[in-house]
Structure formats: C-alpha cells, structure tokens
Amino acid sequence: MTTLSKPMKKFSPLAQAAMDYYQSQAKQLMQAEGEGHAVTAFRQAALNRFLEQGFPTRKDEDWQFTPLSNFLKTHYAFNGVSRIDEAAIAAVKPKVDGWHLVFVDGYFSEILSDDLAGMPSGVSLESGKDALDFEQGFRVFADHETDIEQDAFGMLNAMLFDDGLFIELAAHVRLAKPIVVSYVQTLASHANTTRCKIKLGRGAQLQLIEQYVAIDAGCGFENSVCEIDLAEQAKMSQVIWQNLPEQGMFFNNQFIDLAEQAQFNTHYIGLGSAISRHQNHVQMAGERIESEQNSICFARNQQIMDTRTYTGHSVEWGASRQLHKLVLADQAIGVFNGMIKVDQKAQKTDGMMDNKNLLLSNKAQMNAKPQLEIYADDVKCSHGSASGQISADQIFYLQARGLTKQQARQLVTLAFLMEPLESVADHAVRDWLQQALSAAVTPYLN
C-alpha cells in the first residue's frame, strides 16, 4: 500500500471511446502527411502520451470543476465542406480598422483575408499549413512542447493541428494598425485545431485581436495553442474575444515568454461555449518586465467558464498585474485559477492578482483558487478574491435617481464587467469592445 508505482490508468467507456476516435483521426492525418515526414514522429510521440494519460477527470485537481463528459459525448469531425457566405463572414468581423485575417473551420482563407501586400517590411506572416509543408516546418510551433503536452488538449493539439498562423516582427518594427484574426465556425460538430506562433524582435510592437465566432450551424470544438515570444523591449497587446454558440467547446492554451523590459498585455473576453477554458502561462525571464492579464467572463444557463493563469517571475524587478472578473447567471459555473510563482532570484517582484465575481442567481457557482508560491523575500505580492451579489444599496441609489430596477441592475453589472477594459490602450479597440460587450450581455440581464 505504500508503493508509489503508478497503476495503469483506467478510463471510463466514454473517455476510452473518445480517445480511440481521436487516435484514429491522428493516424489518418499522419497517413495523409506521408510516411517519413518529420512531423510524424512528433505527432506519434504526442499520441503515445495521450493514450497513456487520457482525458482528465474530475479527480484531477486542475479539472475538479470542469467536467468534460459533455465534450466526450460528441466525436468532432475533422473533415467537412465549409459553407462560405462572404457577406455573413464580413458581417462578423470586428469593426476595427486593421489587417483582417480569416480562418474558416480551422483553416486559413486567403480569399477572405485582407491583401497583406501593403504590410511594412520586416513583417512575416505565414499560415500554419504552409509552414507544415516544409519538412521541419512544424518546429517553429513547438518551442514549449513539454509544457504544451502537460495538458490533454495540448497533446490533442500536437496530434492534430493542421493549420495556424506564424507572425514574426523584425526588430523595431511597429504596425500602425492591429492584426485582427477571426476564427469563424460554419460547421456543426467540427474540430478546429490550430497552432500559432507570434515572435516579436527587439523593440517591435504589435497589437493582436483574435475573435472566435460562429455563423449559423457552427458549434464546433476549438482547440488552439499559441506561443508568444517577446524579445527585449518588445511590446504586445492582445485581445481574445470568444463568443461561440452555447453548445461550443473552447480550449485555448497560451505560452508567453518575455525578455528584459518587454511589455505584454492581454484581455480575454469569454461569453460563449458550453465549456470554455482559457489558460495563460507567462514566463518573465528578464529584468523589468511588465505583464498584465485580464479576464472578463459572462456565463449563463449551464455554461462552464474556466479562466486560469500561471505567472512565473524568475528575474528581479518584474511587475505583473491581473484582474479577472466573472459574472455568473442561471446555473453557470465559473472557475478561476491563478498562480504567481516567484523564484528565489526574483527579488523586487511586484505581483498582484485580483479576482472578483458577481453571482446573479441562486444556482450559479464560483470556484476560485488564487495562489502564491514565493521563494524570494524582498517582494510585494498580493492576491485577492471576492464573490458576492449585487449590493442592494447600489440598486436603491440608482432607483432613487429614476432608473428602473432592471436598468439599475444592467448598469451595475455592465460596469462591473467592463472594468478590465480600462487598460486597453487603443481607444478604437476599447470602444468596439465596450459596445460589443454591452450588446452581447444586455439581453441576458434583467
């Protein structure tokens, strides 16, 4: 009873069936890529690991509140013919002036994307599919493979990614307009597996907006992995807008490496999907790095929304800021999990993690776990988490000024949700986000 040898894992029939299915899909993909392709060995290694580990269950601490049974029931298809309706796709693009790129059902569409000829020199942009055509092309996306494959969805991604995006900015290149990527789903029960790599040279600056949406029948399984690599003094701000239909599945893992004096700012806005899980892994391995991570989540009905961060400070003078706000209505379940880890060498670290949650119904549930792991003594680290309902005083105050109860509740809830947007520096982007958020959320507030 004291032996520590791990017994063979046993999987539920549901999980086993899903594992068998994804294995067969990976095998098909490897066959299509042709024998002897360098990527085959890479995919096979991920597959072997996946077959050993399987899908997490609620017994895994990191998945305690994120049950996957609904995800496992559907076997998401990897082929299908997209229904491209240009007008509809144009309509869902964010109303932001930028370089627009479009993915349809997990594949890059050159026709629907803007002509990139006008981009300044020093910007390279390539689709993942093109990169994969090269013998060793997949390697640009695999810098964090050990970390990526800690997670079942990371393994699935390694086994099955077939497209994505590679963006590289040479030193000191600055784009005047944001790059706006729309991942559009048009097929039901379709799996979209993408992998991205964003690489900023010294002092380069990029603003990236990513949007996950669907048109009519779309309610697929989005599984993305993104590697972001900022050199010294590079600066990047990122917005991820996730508003998939209520039956969708969304899993996104980001691995962010920051070098000296880099600045990174990310906002995740989660509104859709039956199960959504967004995770940042930030490594601050240089002096005077500033990072900022924010979440805005609004979940209703039976949605499960999971947002998590890992922030590693390994060198002196790093500053990290986090604000995660969740509003939960109906029977929704919210999960926040954050970890700030400060290494012994990371003196003078200034880390702050804040999580605030608003529960709008008796059946909603919030599970928060803000964590600190500190090995350096001269640091300023704090975290806070608070959950509660709308204060009756606030509503009374607004009603006293002539608002109806419903208006008052809407106003308070929206104001609560929008706070993290204040740190979006670009006014045009912030305005778009505020309007879009208000339009998306207001119908469900009463």
Binding site: M1, T2, E61, S361, M366, I374, H383, A386
Partner: protein, 487 residues
C-alpha cells in the same frame, strides 16, 4: 548587500543548540514490537480491555486503511513512511496501572514520568493551578486532574480509554461522527491504532469554570502517537480547551497522527487552542516529528461557535487543517493561526470552512513566518453550499519571509454556490526590513529583540485569541524559535 544582512539574522537563528523539551525520560516501559498488522490492532484493543464494538471499529478502519494510498499532495517532501518500522503501543509500566485503578491515579504516576511533566511545567498533581490537565505519555493517559471538581458540574473530563469503559454510549454516538474512519489516510490509521486521548463532555447550560488542557508527550523512540480526542459541548455550554505537546530529541522520525472531533450544539461555544511544539529535528530536520493531524468540528445547532487557535512552531513536517462544518443557522467558525518554520521544516497548514446553515459566518486569520530553508504553506478551503443564505467569510493570510532561502505559499480554495454569500480573501507577503531593524537598533533595542518585537506585532491578531498564559508561552516560544533553540 542583502546577503550580509541575512547572514546576521541567520547567525542568530543558527544558535539553536538546544530544544529545551528535548530531554528523554528513563523509566520502565512496555512497548510493542515494531510492526503493524491485525494482530497488533487486536493487541492494542486487548491491552486497553476494550469492548467488542471498539475493536470492530478499529478493524474496520484498519482494513480500509490498507486499501488507501499515502497522500503526497501537501507541499512537503518526505520519503514514503515505512509503517512497519514503528511501534504502535508504548506505556510506562506504572502508568498502565494508573489507567486501571484510577482512584489513586495521583499517586500511581511513575515518579520518572511525574518528573518529566514537572520539568515541562505541566501541573499533573491536583495543585492550585487554575487549570485541569490530562497528561498523556506515549500511548496512555497517566493523570487527569481536577476531575472531582468538574464532576460536580456534570463535566466529564477523562482519558479516551476511560471514556470507552465508563461512557460507552457517548463514545459510540460521537466516535467517527465528525471524522469518519475512512475520511483520509491518517484518520484511518488513527482509527485503527488510536492510543489514547482526551474525552470531554460539557452538559447543557454549563459554563466550564476553568480551562481544560491536555499535554502530549512522545517519549519512546520509533513510536507513533495516535491520540483521539472527542469534545462535546451540549446546548448553551462553554469550554476553553488547550493542548500542548513535545518530544525528546531522536535521530529518527517519529510519527504523530491525531484525530480531534468537536461537536458543538445549539448556543454552545468551544474555544480550542493548540501550541504545537513537537521536536523539529536537527539542523536538517532529520529525526523530527511527522505531524499529520485531522482536526474537525461541527457546529451542529443554531448559534453554535467554534474557534480554533493554533501556534505551530515544531515538527519536521506539519499537515494540519483544523476545520469547521457550520451546519446550524447563525453558527460561527473561526481560525486563528501562527505557523513558524525554520531550518528545513515544512508546514502545510490551513483550515476548511464549510458553510451549510443560513447566516453562518467564518473568519480566517493566518500568519505564516518562514525562516532558514523552510517552506510554509497556507492551504484553505471556504465552501458556501447552496443553502447557506447570507453566509459571510473573511480570510486574511499574511506571510513573512525571514531570509532569502525560504518559501511562503498560499493556496486558497474558494467555492461559492450561493449568491447572497459574501466571501473575501486577501493575502500579502512581506519581510523584516533592514530599515525597520536599523530603526530599532538605533534606539537601543538589540537586533534579536527587534526581530522578536516585529514578529510579535505581526502575530498579535492571533495571539490575542489565546488564553493569557498561553499567549505568553506562545510569544516566548516564538522568540526562542527565532533564536533557533526550538525551531
């Protein structure tokens, strides 16, 4: 520049050549051979002359324990424990007669054991001390004082073994009701081989006039202590209970796996204070006590109140989460903790507050101090169940790092299933600043006094919850620990 400052502090910390409770008592003892199997469980039960139901409980727990894996999720690194390498029963020969013939318990105490407790400052004779003491030496309770005085009020204060004999109906009703035998690995082990412990019963409406206290002493080498404490506060009663502990210096790890069950009925209040000062081991914490404790209380009725206060300075490894199940409406749970780790000590401690009833309130104040190369972790759960209308929780976890080779960690779990609940959690990390020390020294306060003053200020919120003499003891203990003589 920083290193030099810490060299000084660490020098002071390193002058830790003696753990003053580290002496060893030589007396005739009866110790079971090492090893654990069903026969040992039966032998322990037979030794204590236990009724069949108690033996059945032990065997059920033992069989379940054998199927469980040893938990390693805590932030503490240790080799898997060889449970066959411990002895599961040890008693001073004379002490065992004390439990049989309790009438003359005072005189029957082994003089060596009596000396040991005298040296520890534990009043085991019915002296004028304004406190009633149950003294436990290895596996048995050797003396319980002030029993007659308490009996007049209807209070039962005796060793667990006696309670099994004299109050079987109460023990049967409450044993395992808060911490079931299958609850966790160490609780199952404890249920199987429970040595002794304290049994307290406060009848309806009685306010216990004096503090009740238990002092645990592990003496024999390579023995485990598995005490089981049950505390029942009937409707409208009040009790303040204190426990303390220590062990001699040994070069092998000793095991301590206790279970404490507290039942608080309507309008009753229980204050449970612990000063834990088990032997922490040598420089590298080799040979210290492995302290795996399950403490849990349930606020059964309306307006019940349970308050845990702990000062943790000892043990090589601490794994302890005193918890409150707030079942009754308006019930209150409190947790005040100071945990200090030095050298290579590892403490993973915190609390669980489970809010079930309406308008239940809980407060958690946790102060963690890490020095040397130690790791100090707060791990806590606040859970608000759907029925807990208007529940309220406030949590504050402050960590202080002394030196740059230690770690301070905070792992809070917050689960809210009711929107009317208000849950707040805050955590901060700080250190003793060079400037603070300089300021004090400039005014003629020695560096050591300055450290101890700053630390005491940091811990004040918790110490004010301890009974007076105890708070003093805890403060002294902290000062000594920081000097390094205890750890």
């Amino acid at each position: 520049m920083q290193t030099t400052q810490y060299e000084e502090i660490n020098d002071i910390l390193a002058k830790n050549q003696h753990y003053k409770e580290g002496f060893h008592t030589q007396t005739l003892v009866e110790t079971f051979a090492k090893g654990l199997n069903e026969d040992v469980v039966k032998a322990i039960s037979a030794k204590k002359n236990e009724p069949q139901w108690m033996l059945d409980f032990r065997l059920k727990a033992f069989r379940h324990w054998q199927t469980m894996p040893e938990p390693h999720w805590a932030k503490a690194e240790y080799e898997p424990i060889d449970y066959q390498d411990y002895s599961y029963y040890s008693a001073p020969e004379c002490g065992s007669c004390a439990t049989d013939g309790q009438a003359e318990s005072g005189s029957a105490v082994d003089p060596e054991v009596a000396k040991a407790f005298a040296a520890l400052g534990v009043p085991i004779d019915d002296s004028d001390a304004n406190i009633a003491v149950d003294a436990i030496f290895d596996s048995v309770s050797v003396s319980t004082t002030k029993r007659d005085q308490l009996e007049k009020l209807g209070i039962i204060f005796c060793s667990f073994s006696e309670a099994v004999q004299d109050h079987p109906e109460l023990v049967q009703r409450y044993l395992g009701s808060v911490v079931p035998y299958h609850d966790n690995f160490f609780a199952a082990l404890n249920s199987a081989v429970a040595s002794d412990g304290t049994f307290v019963f406060i009848p309806e409406g009685v306010r216990c006039p004096i503090d009740l206290s238990t002092y645990f002493r592990i003496n024999e080498a390579k023995t485990g202590q598995f005490e089981r404490t049950i505390l029942i506060a009937e409707k409208g009663s009040y009790i303040s209970y204190i426990e303390g502990c220590s062990a001699p210096i040994r070069d092998t790890y000793q095991l301590h796996a206790a279970v404490v069950e507290v039942i608080v009925h309507e309008d009753a209040e229980v204050k449970y204070s612990t000063v834990q000062n088990w032997y922490p081991g040598d420089e590298d914490c080799q040979g210290g006590i492995l302290n795996f404790v399950t403490k849990r209380g349930v606020c059964e009725g309306r307006n019940a109140k349970l308050s845990w206060t702990q000062a943790e300075t000892g043990s090589a490894i601490t794994w302890k989460y005193p918890s409150c199940i707030l079942k009754g409406d308006n019930s209150i749970g409190e947790f005040y903790s100071v945990a200090l780790t030095n050298r290579r000590q590892q403490a993973d401690t915190g609390t669980k507050m489970i809010h079930i009833g309406k308008n239940t309130r809980s407060t958690i104040i946790s102060k963690g101090l890490s020095a040397g190369k130690s790791d100090n972790t707060y791990r806590g759960l606040v859970k608000i169940l759907p029925g807990a209308e208007g529940a309220r929780n406030f949590t504050q976890c402050d960590s202080m790092l002394i030196g740059n080779q230690c770690g301070a960690h905070t792992f809070p779990y917050i689960e809210v299933q009711n929107p009317t609940a208000q849950v707040e959690h805050e955590a901060t990390t700080s250190r003793i600043g060079e400037d603070q020390l300089f300021y004090c020294q400039q005014r003629g306060i020695s560096e050591q006094d300055a450290i101890s003053m700053i630390v005491n200020g940091f811990c004040k919120e918790v110490f004010k919850e301890l009974p007076l003499e105890f708070a003093q003891e805890a403060e002294e203990l902290l000062a000594i620990s920081l000097e390094g003589s205890v750890g």
